[in-house]
Amino acid sequence: MTDMATTDDATGTADEGAIIGVGELESGKFPDRPFMQALVDVSIEAIQDAQLTVSDIDTVLLIPCLHSADDQADLIFNRVTEELGLLGKAKAGAMMHSGGSTSDNVTRTAAGLIASGQAKNVLVAQSEKWGSAPVTEMVDMLSGYGIPREWERSAGITFNGIGALITQRYMADSGATAEEMASVCVALRNWARLNPRAMYRDKELTVERVLSSKMISDPVHAMECPMLADGAAAYVMTSAGAARAAGHDAWVRIAGSGGSVSHYSIAQDADLGVLGWPAAAVEAYEQAGWGPEDADLAEIYDSYAAVLTIAMEGLGLAPKGDAARNFAAGDYSPGGRLPVCTNGGLLSAGHTGVGGGTALLVEGIRQLLHRAEPQRQVENAQRAVCGGSGGTYMDSQVLLLERTTR
C-alpha cells in the first residue's frame, strides 16, 4: 500500500490524492433507466461537481456491476471512455473488482496513481441494475459468487444464509437481542428518510415491523435483508496541489487506510464475530494519527445489521459487544452521538451490488465536502471513518477521510 500520510500536517502534501466532486443517482427499481445512461450521467455529474470538464479526465477506474456479464464486459473494456468522448485523451481505463470493498481498493489505487504522477484527474464510476434483474437469477448467482464451488455450494448456502451465520455468531458473542438487531435497521431507515436518493426514503420502519416480517434465514428476518437495487455513483480525484491551484475551498484527503483479508470461504474465517476489522483499524489509525473518538461520522458496509455492528466494534467506534445496544439507544440515529450510514446504508438506501460500498464512500465524501442535503448534513463534519467488505465479508477495508481546506 502507498504510504499516504507521512506527515501529521492535516493539510497533507501537494501530490497526494484530493477528492473534489461526487455524483449519485437515485437508488431503487428503474427498469427504464439504461445501465450505460446511468453510468454516463453519474460520471458527468461528478465531473461537473468537481468543476472540471470531461476532457480533464485522464484515467477512468470503474467499479463492476453484477447484474449482467455483457454490461460488466462494457466496464472491463471501458466503453464509457468512448461514450464520454475521451478517446485520445484518456491514458488508461480499467475495472477493479473486490466486491463490496472495491471502492476502498479503487480509492487507494487512484491515490497511488496521482501521488506517483501517473494520473492527474481520475474518474471513479459505478452503475448497477440489480433492482431490475430477475430475482431467481440473482439468488442463483449469489449462491455461487464468492463461495467455493467444490466445497461449499453443495451445502446449499445462500447470500442471506451467510449474513445469518455472521449474525448468529455476533448475537451469541454480544448477547444482543432480536430487538436490538432490528433497531439497527430502523436507525438506517431513519437516515434514509432524509436522503432523496434512498430507495426507502418514503417508508417508515419500526422494530415491531421488522420482527413480525417473515423469518428468512434464522435469525435474519425479511426486513433485515438488503433489497437489491439499481443505482449509480461516482467521484473525481485530483492532487491536493491541483485542487488548491484550481481554487477549490475544500477537498477530501485519505488520512489513513488499512485492510485485512480474513477468509475467502465463509467457513474458513477464524472468528465470524470479528472478521478482519481490528487488524485493518490498527494500520489505518496509526497512519492517520487520530482515532475513532475523533470521527464525526462513519459510513460502513451494512448489508446485514451484524456486518455493521461487528465492523463498528472492530474499528473502535463502539465498545466490544455494545454496537447493537447503542443503536437501540439511538446513539447512531439522526440527532444521535455519532452519525452512522447517513445515506441509509445498503439496508435502506438499497443494495446496489458492488455499488453499495461506493454509495457509502460517496456519502462520506459528500458529508466532508459539506454538500449533503441540509436535513442530514453532519454539522462541521471534518473526519469520517469509511469501511467496506467484499464477497462473504472476506476482507475488511477502511479509509479514514479528512476534510482539508485551503
Binding site: 431467481t136 439468488v139 442463483d140 449462491s143 455461487g144 467455493p148 467444490e150 466445497w151 461449499e152 455450494r153 453443495s154 451445502a155 446449499g156 448456502i157 445462500t158 442471506n160 444464509g161 445469518a164 451465520l165 455472521i166 448468529q168 455468531r169 451469541a172 417473515k214 423469518m215 428468512i216 434465514s217 434464522d218 435469525p219 435474519v220 425479511a222 470461504s265 465463509i266 467457513a267 474458513q268 474465517d269 465470524l272
Partner: protein
C-alpha cells in the same frame, strides 16, 4: 516443474459419498489442511495426502434457511447449515441433521457436534458433510 494435474476434488467427494470425511495432510510439515489445497498453505509442499477426520468438532455458527433456496435446493427447505471447527483444528461448512421433531432447537453456537456419515446424500449436487449434536 511437471504439469501433472493434481485432482484434490474427486478423492474428497468420493470419500464423503462413502461416508468418510477426509482432511488433507501435508506429508512434509504434517499440517492439517481444509479445504483441500493444491499446495500446502504452510510450507508450499506439493506432497499432500489424506487422513480420515475423527468427526468431532464445535459449531461456530449456523442458520436455518427457510426461504429463497438456490435452484436445486427448493425441496430441502427448511434446512440448516453451519460452520464446524473440527478437533483437528480445521473448519468446514456442513449441513445439520434436524432434531427428532424436525427443528434445530438443540443447536447453538459452541455446541459439540459430530459427523453423521449416514446422512450424506445428494450426489447430484455434490456431497455435503452432515453433522449432528454430539450429546
Amino acid at each position: 516443474m511437471t504439469a501433472v494435474s493434481r485432482d484434490i476434488v474427486t478423492p474428497y467427494q468420493e470419500a464423503l459419498s462413502n461416508g468418510e470425511l477426509l482432511i488433507q495432510q501435508c506429508q512434509n510439515c504434517k499440517a492439517h489442511i481444509m479445504y483441500p489445497r493444491h499446495r500446502c498453505p504452510v510450507c508450499q509442499s506439493a506432497d499432500l495426502g489424506w487422513v480420515a477426520a475423527e468427526g468431532h468438532g464445535v459449531l461456530q455458527s449456523f442458520t436455518i434457511q427457510r426461504v429463497g433456496a438456490p435452484t436445486g435446493f427448493e425441496q430441502d427447505l427448511p434446512y440448516a447449515v453451519g460452520v464446524v471447527r473440527l478437533d483437528e483444528g480445521v473448519q468446514l461448512l456442513a449441513r445439520l441433521v434436524p432434531d427428532a421433531d424436525g427443528g434445530w432447537d438443540s443447536y447453538a453456537c459452541d455446541v459439540a457436534v459430530r459427523f453423521q456419515p449416514a446422512a450424506v446424500t445428494a450426489p447430484v449436487r455434490g456431497p455435503a458433510a452432515w453433522f449432528e449434536v454430539d450429546s
